[in-house]
């Protein structure tokens, strides 16, 4: 038994999810007057940023792998 997704798959998934969340958190920001949304805006932003950072980490791991392979 092994997990069927590779690092590249997860990286792609992270990228797409991070982009969706970052756009959502920005568009639902109270700066644009969206003050009646009953969600924790700060937490949404935090989750979006965390996913973005995780994606960057997977990219760095990939770059490191390419460099080490040479």
């Amino acid at each position: 038994m092994q997990f069927p997704l590779s690092l590249d798959d997860i990286s792609l998934w992270l990228a797409i999810t991070a982009v969706i969340l970052l756009i959502t958190s920005e568009l639902s920001s109270p700066s644009y007057g969206r003050t009646n949304l009953m969600i924790e805006q700060k937490r949404l932003k935090k989750a979006a940023l965390t996913l973005g950072i995780l994606f960057m980490i997977t990219v760095l791991v990939r770059i490191y792998g390419i460099i080490m392979a040479r």
Partner: protein, 414 residues
Amino acid sequence: MRQTTLVNLDPMTQIFVLAFIMIVTSLGLVWILIYRTTRKEKPSLKTTLRVNSLLVARFVQVMLICGIIWFVAWAHVYEVLVWNEPFIYTFYKSFHNVLSYSILLIIAVYIEYAVRKHKPPSPLDQRELPQHISKTVEKMQKRIEQLQNEKEALRVQIWRYRRKPSGLAGYALTLVGALALISSVIVLSSILAFVGLGLTFWGILLLYIKPTKYIRSELLDSTAIPSLTNIDKLITDLEYHGKPIYTSFRTLKEPGAAIVFIPATTEEVLPLVEEIADDKVLLKHPRGVRITPPGLALASLVEKEMGIDLSTADLDYLQNNLGKILIEDLEIAEAFEIEANKNNIHVKITSPVYKDLCTEVSKLQNISPNIGCPLCSSIACMLTRVTNKPVVIEKEEASEKGTVIDVFYRVVES
């Protein structure tokens, strides 16, 4: 091991997977179409279904159309694209699929016919009327229809504002996602892994971003109004006619806290520091009453969010930071502007959460505009703290719907 995709699964598993997706989608649609949009005071599902029989019929039609698309896809698209069969030949080869979608199509058409037949006609449709009257009737019918649509839209909007966020969706998504993830490891399917990863993540996210505490603004208003009414009655009974002055004293037990002093006469005078320090309510030199501002707690909250002692800050700092705190952090208003012109300060607040409260408070003659609603009062408290000078509320203007509030403050030069 060869990776599992939907195409190379055996037909029974395909049917199982797709049936599962269809059931989940159907439940979601039932919830969105019927339960969420029609709920007023939590009626039973049976009542909802009976009342919304038309919606149910439409929903069944949608499901039938989904089924038709599904069978058409397997009967024709799949055969032509995957097996390169001629289109005409697919009718023969996938006869069962063709039969299935034909039956579904006939049922969908019959439902449409039944819905149209049983739609109650308007009593006016059954009578023959003179031409000029029938035109007016037509216009009125259109108007009634338009108003009904507007009413329905408003009802849905009100319900959306009133509904309480639930964690049920989050838990359901997490559970289904976890099951999909476990299955993906067992059958080594990347599709299931993606589905599971997505569902688990969104389930956890829904639970994470769910507000920890939710209070309706009506509740907030109803708790604040009685105390403001009491202050109004107290001032009326005392027959004090002076303009309330917001001021802060460093000698108070709570250093820098703001108070409102209402002088007995129309003269703009400040109380003696000694009397304030004694924590008295009715003051004698000069005669007047000292009350705690309705917005003091809110001002303290803003100060806490800012992370600074306002008595050490200046007006520029308040101008640059107050908007951000009120809009982004506390989400009290949609827009906020503050302009200072010498001793006059103009504040414009758009769509504050205290909108209804401000409208109610405006009916209290002694409170509005002199003492102000909790929001205006809190700004006065902050202004007196940053300027270290007394502040009075000169004017408070609200737009017709109360969405924009203009407040004019004056810093009193002692």
